[in-house]
Assembly symmetry: C2
Homo-oligomer: 412 residues x 2
DNA sequence: AGGTATTTGTTCAGCGATTGAATTATTTGC
DNA sequence: GCAAATAATTCAATCGCTGAACAAATACCT
């Protein structure tokens, strides 16, 4: 497939150990049952001697721990299983959305160890105040984590909008944010994170991107290339290619909501015409189903739609079918272009999947060249609400697993 | 950006040298003037001692050679510049297209050292016969290469169709190929390639993919993420992300021709409706310009269109504007999705770029969310015809540069 | 013209990490 | 109770990078 990308910089003597630490730890993380040192040796191609030395470092650094010996058949000295430590470093996930704030802590194994959600309409709240509330929640999360033996080593914040490399939120239309310098605003609060070399203290990213990462890590054995679509007021997509999030040249990939599905159709607030969002966005579906907007707060629209569809309401069913068709046209284009075999419906779409999937699949079947040879799976997200916060925290934890050397250098 | 992907397998003692060989050779290839050993040391972060040792290996293996000392200001011992060798390993590029066969040889530096084109209508020719002719041409190419001190170490074949991992051409509609087992057919001829560990003797890939790679390597300093669109009878795209071709889950990415631009529009032979190909494919443009199909062989249609447009023919101008608008709708969607900053018009589109670019840019400006902050460049391809053959050969040469260890192990 | 500063490239002892074989540890099966 | 089998550790050997000293070659200054 692709050429093996060598590490960017120089490969010095010590890099060797760093790379093998990451290799072994990654295997432990990916294994479906606790592997022994001997298993790791055969799996990685390293000698048992090297694996033992590497594992010793990992044990000393609280990244893995030895589990009860796994039952095994046949003779021989029983193996000692290795699992990711349930104490040690952990990631902090933060999310600001239109109608809630969320904070969570995820450990190395991907388990959610702490979770807080605060429901409120954030649109009238100033960005600095919203972030201050989030910091309060995060402080409590850190204490809870510390009680469980966890140290927060990095944070990721999910925002429903465009974020640049420096963490500046250029535009979050549904939140009313515009050029909000998140890192600067958060720097005014006392730090919650223990700095670790190689792990950024704070990453700000698009909500759809982080939700896609959450989906990726929630399914250790799943496909490593898929499209994750977050259907909220806006429609965003996270693109995971070969197990890595694709962010685009400037980090603004995934604006699937503005894919043209009817080029001469309804005008969109983005300035274009006939964007997907105008046909499959939450407001469009609600309007098509004949529901007055006023009677529905944003956070219950999806639930109400599902309720009506469940009851067989013809207007709701038609609205969902039409939205699914528009979504299917856009998704078919994406699949033709990127040759993905899995599409995940997340965010508000997850609850509507029973009605959205059939028309999406129909469009894919009719429009995707290669659909005949290999089918495309369309399924709802397995993570529930606040998927982005979980994905954010998980992305930090994952980073420790991918680059354990920094943490080990710190812990000593 | 993305996590530094560690090498897939184990990092053994010797991998260290392999990685540094690739690192140093890559720097030499990327430099705009011949770097000295000292330059390489500061650029890579390795010590001068290590660089000297690595360079010694590269010199012994005929991968680089010392050039005349570059003029330098200031005092000090003059440096000896290092350049990619013009003798040694080289890549063989092959292309089967609707109206020609092409063969070329590209050296490590990306220079085309041999080129043969054979014009003929390949549609009535059986696949095995077409490949046999190609092998004849390749044999002559090998002799020419040998006379220049070049050894062919791998071949890549470009085909206008869908290819699977094993090199089976599943479908090449415009060529009339269907399930053609290219590697098996070529195996019946005597081998032209000197096998090198780590370099596949034959890669079969989509023409649009390989043309995109050619474009990538023809511009050493250009962007490393772009969309390359080959506008022929069909419309294919090669997607280059972070300097690597993105092939999709099964290698069938880039089918931009079947992006829906008018979902309820003209039926397409793919079974869908309103595909881009129906509005911006060669046949659609020719028909819209009012040219009778019969009077135009496929290979001159583009030239004739450019001639008419140059002369101000209103029908041709309108046809090109409409095609450009359709193309722009599709491209705007792709840019919204992938956040690319460059779009290259290749194949038949290259000659029509003066008329296609303005409407494409107009649609991008109107539909791409982020266009206001950072502009998208749309430009014609710099490689001419047979770009795919050049890209194919270049991809092999590039692979040697990225993984020099295999060649060095062979040469001794 | 000669000396000094400066930069390039090489040599060499030292060291860290992996290797492979030998050794120890622990259990099952006969 | 003993042999076979599997797991994990120990240890000398080896490979490749490092850092510093050294040799080579040129420009600048007096």
């Amino acid at each position: 497939m692709s050429l093996t990308h060598a590490p960017a910089g120089a490969v010095r003597q010590g890099s060797l150990r760093e790379l093998n630490l990451a290799l072994v730890l990654g295997r432990i993380a990916a294994a479906d049952r606790p592997p022994s040192r001997a298993d790791l040796a055969t799996a990685t191609g390293l000698t048992r001697a090297t694996v033992s030395a590497v594992v010793e470092d990992l044990l000393a650094g609280q990244l893995v721990s030895e589990s009860d010996p796994a039952p095994r058949s046949g003779a021989g000295r029983p193996a000692r299983g290795l699992v990711l430590a349930d104490q040690g470093p952990a990631g902090l996930g933060l999310e600001v959305n239109v109608d809630y704030l969320a904070v969570c802590v995820v450990d190395l194994a991907g388990q959610v160890r702490h979770r807080t959600v605060h429901r409120a309409d954030l649109r009238p709240v100033a960005p600095a105040d919203a972030l201050a509330r989030l910091v309060d929640m995060a402080g409590a999360a850190r204490e809870d984590a510390a009680d469980q033996g966890l140290t927060l080593v990095g944070a990721a914040l999910a925002v429903p909008g465009l974020v640049d490399d420096a963490g500046l939120v250029r535009l979050a239309p549904n939140l009313g944010w515009h050029d909000v310098p998140v890192p600067a605003l958060l720097a005014e609060h006392p730090p919650l994170i223990e700095q670790v070399p190689g792990i950024p203290a704070l990453v700000v990213d698009n909500e759809a991107n982080l939700a896609a990462l959450g989906e990726l890590h929630s399914q250790p054995t799943g496909t490593s290339s898929f499209l994750h679509i977050s259907g909220e007021v806006g429609i965003g997509a996270g693109i995971v290619l070969d197990g890595a999030l694709f962010r685009g040249v400037r980090g603004w990939s995934g604006e699937i909501g503005h894919l043209p599905v009817h080029p001469e159709g309804r005008p969109c607030r983005c300035g274009g015409q006939g964007c997907l969002e105008q046909y499959a966005g939450q407001e469009a579906i609600v309007a098509a189903a004949g529901l007055a907007r006023a009677e529905l707060p944003a956070d219950t629209a999806t639930a109400r739609l599902a309720e009506l569809a469940e009851g067989g309401d013809p207007d709701a069913l038609r609205a969902l079918r039409d939205a699914g068709t528009a979504l299917g046209v856009a998704v078919a284009g994406v699949v033709n272009l990127l040759d993905l075999d899995t599409v995940v419906l997340g965010g508000g779409y997850a609850a509507l999947a029973p009605w959205l999937c059939p028309p999406v699949l129909a469009e894919i079947g009719a429009r995707v060249l290669t659909a005949a040879w290999s089918p495309v799976t369309v399924r709802p997200s397995t993570l529930g609400a606040e998927a982005a916060a979980v994905g954010a925290a998980g992305s930090v934890a994952r980073r420790i697993v991918a680059q354990p050397a920094g943490w080990l250098a710190r812990a000593g």
